[in-house]
């Protein structure tokens, strides 16, 4: 397996792999996310307690789930970068951080828009909301720490340590609804036993989570390419690539 993986430590190979996967992820992600959103918005049955307001779930839950998964992915990339000194790993970490920050931001905004009609307030300093806000600050912290260093190897190490330390926040977010008295409801899907939701509501939700994941994957591929280009700006293969893409766009 290592022999097979090894070429991808080389930046050019990783760039080409991203290039090849990008159209598939983009098209599939967009299709799934649109399909699931339309299903959730227009076709799923109404909730007996919250009526139509519950439909916010079809953006709130995917963004919240993805915010945690992206943080885990970023921390794993940071760990690999720190332990095995893999350069591309830090690039992956930095490609993931802005996506995670965006998705976390979306989960907070949609949460606020759901909180106002249901709890009567846009924001409350309760355990789930506050720990999710800290997650956003962790993403932003990793980005700014990385940008603060001129030497990118050192920047990767510093930001990587921060990303790994921040992992402590993930179980806090997950169990915050059990450990503290909070406004936020408990887990619906991610729990032992059957999810407490009828299938005609659950399916569009699961699909939209999948759609969000694939779309985030597509953006990750694009940002990974940018990180690689940034690092190899003066390498001959990047110069050749830039020339090729400029002749292509002139030909149009």
């Amino acid at each position: 397996m290592w022999k097979w993986l090894h070429p991808y430590a080389k930046t050019e190979r990783s760039y080409q792999l991203c290039q090849r996967l990008l159209p598939w992820f983009s098209v599939l992600g967009l299709t799934v996310i649109l399909f699931a959103t339309v299903w959730g918005l227009a076709f799923a049955p109404t909730d007996y307690q919250q009526s139509e307001a519950y439909r916010i779930i079809y953006v709130h839950v995917p963004s919240a789930v993805l915010s945690k998964s992206l943080y885990s992915a970023m921390a794993i990339a940071a760990f690999i970068g720190l332990v095995w000194q893999v350069k591309t790993s830090f690039m992956a970490m930095m490609a993931l951080a802005p996506i995670g920050a965006t998705v976390t931001f979306v989960s907070l905004v949609t949460g606020a828009a759901w909180g106002k009609p249901m709890w009567g307030t846009w924001w409350e300093w309760d355990a789930r909301l506050t720990s999710q806000l800290i997650l956003l600050f962790l993403f932003l912290g990793v980005i700014s720490l990385y940008k603060a260093f001129e030497d990118k190897q050192q920047a990767g190490k510093a930001a990587g340590v921060m990303a790994i330390v921040g992992v402590i926040n993930l179980p806090i977010i997950h169990y915050s609804v059990q450990w503290w008295n909070t406004l936020h409801q408990g887990a619906t899907i991610m729990k032992l036993g059957k999810p407490s939701m009828p299938p005609e509501m659950l399916w569009p939700l699961l699909l939209s989570i999948l759609g969000w994941a694939i779309v985030c994957g597509a953006v990750f591929l694009l940002r990974m390419q940018n990180e690689i280009l940034q690092r190899d700006l003066r390498r001959p293969w990047v110069v050749a690539l830039a020339n090729k893409s400029s002749t292509l766009s002139e030909g149009k």
């Binding site: 959103t37 918005l41 227009a42 076709f43 799923a44 049955p45 109404t46 009526s51 139509e52 307001a53 439909r55 916010i56 953006v59 709130h60 963004s63 802005p98 996506i99 965006t102 931001f105 979306v106 905004v109 949609t110 828009a113 759901w114 106002k116 009609p117 779309v215 953006v219 694009l222 940002r223 390419q225 940018n226 280009l229 940034q230 700006l233 003066r234 990047v238 110069v239 690539l241 830039a242 020339n243 893409s245 400029s246």
Partner: protein, 71 residues
């Protein structure tokens, strides 16, 4: 379709503002993220081309002064 007509779809049982605010914010955020990623790639590639053109100019200028000295 769950809704009877389009106006009830937009109204969302009176929760229209909150539902559309959520979906709008999500779509806008993802769009901005994608645009940023897409245009930074283009900026990087033009940066490479500019640098290449600069190197060519530097080389040409150096050549010219060398020729000027020999004459």
């Amino acid at each position: 379709m769950h809704f009877e007509d389009f106006s009830s779809f937009f109204d969302m049982g009176g929760y229209g503002l909150y539902v559309w605010l959520s979906f709008g914010a999500a779509a806008l955020s993802l769009l901005v993220l994608w645009l940023d990623s897409f245009f930074s790639k283009r900026t990087l590639l033009t940066q490479v081309l500019n640098e290449q053109a600069r190197q060519v100019r530097i080389k040409a200028a150096a050549e010219q002064t060398r020729n000027g000295e020999t004459i």
